[in-house]
Amino acid sequence: MKFIKDILLFEVETSGANPDKDVVLQIGALLLDKDNLLEKGFYHTYIRNSLIEATLKEQAKIAHTSFENLQMGVKPLEFIKLFSSQFSGPLTLAMPSVSRLLFLKNTFKKQAVPFPYDLNIIDLWTMQYMFSVKRGLRKMPTLNTLAEDFHMTITNPYNAFERAKTHAAIFRKLCVEF
């Protein structure tokens, strides 16, 4: 399978489920080559959304990480600059569900920065669901059930970068199936 553009696969850890109200606390991203899906680059960071210690402590608890990790994270605007300078040019975004796109878009919007990426995205869940259908779906696929199917181990399910890497490994396998 050869894609038209390189694929930027990302996963986020957030402070809640509402993309309007909640924020991205951690992002992990991998740039995959359009011809062979090999990794061409990566980026991961925690994002420091607040200066208030109590808020950071609460967010650290939600993200299953330490207060220090969040405190040392980059500010949202700094994240946007780093992320969009590392991943520029023609790309197709890929993510585990469309809600992740809304979170990423809102991070840009809250900093009044135009979103630079194409909104036609690869929804990985759709692909995972179709794979499960082909195999006689018994239950809704999740990252854990798929990782188990492919004999992969997720050591820290709360780490967005690790989840992104697992999604990328599953994506490569599913591309062979389609």
């Binding site: 399978m1 050869k2 894609f3 038209i4 553009k5 489920a17 509402n18 309007d20 197709t92 569900s97 469309v98 809600s99 796109l101 809304l102 919007k109 194409d118 909104l119 036609n120 995205i121 690869i122 929804d123 869940w125 759709t126 692909m127 669901y129 179709m130 259908v133 082909k134 779906l137 809704m140 591309c175 389609f178």
Partner: protein, 190 residues
């Protein structure tokens, strides 16, 4: 084949910004989970509350004028009707380029002070179309499009063109046909 019936849904809006613009038409077609035959359909216009915020370019695309919306239900009622026609516990939402439609749909619920009662994931036909097209060898596909829309994909799959695109129910019909053809091409359909 699928775990639930699918509801192909589509919205037309007054613009592209979910926090500023509003849904002005919503439509859905329910497809049987095993056969993908149509089970039921629903469409309604929706009366906007901030018509003055409309984006002229968007209105040029959907060609919806205010006289069509004046007597239409407001969004809260339209969503209730949508749920009555497509009970959330029975169906899976499906869209072509899901971020756009899902974004507006879920935002409309949030503005009513509640979460959308549907399954968290939306099945995205665009993703499937892109995967299929990427699996076609380049030499047989010299006109491989970049960022293709619904009408492009319908054309590539040799689906007769709709009389009009960007009419929510007509788009649902084409999306359903695109999905049926894609599943056949990917040898997934029973």
């Amino acid at each position: 084949m699928f775990t639930r019936d699918l509801v192909i849904f589509d919205v037309e809006s007054t613009g592209l910004d979910v926090s500023k613009h509003e849904i002005i038409q919503i439509a859905g077609i329910r497809l049987h989970k095993d056969t993908l035959a149509e089970v039921s359909r629903f469409t309604t216009y929706v009366k906007p509350t901030r018509w003055e915020e409309q984006m002229p370019a968007a209105m040029e695309v959907n060609k919806i004028t205010f006289d069509k919306l004046e007597k239409a239900p407001q969004i809260a009622e339209a969503l209730k009707e949508f749920e009555t026609h497509f009970p959330p516990e029975e169906v899976m939402l499906t869209a072509y380029n899901a971020p756009f439609d899902t974004g507006f749909f879920r935002q409309s619920y949030i503005q009513q002070g509640r979460q959308a009662p549907y399954e968290y994931h939306t099945f995205d036909i665009w993703s499937l179309a892109y995967l299929y097209w990427s699996s076609v060898p380049h030499k047989n596909n010299p006109t491989k499009p970049i960022g293709f829309g619904l009408s492009d994909m319908a054309g590539l799959l040799k689906i007769p063109p709709a009389e009009t695109y960007h009419e929510a129910l007509a788009d649902c019909e084409i999306e359903a046909e695109v999905l049926r053809k894609l599943l056949g091409k990917l040898e997934i359909r029973n």
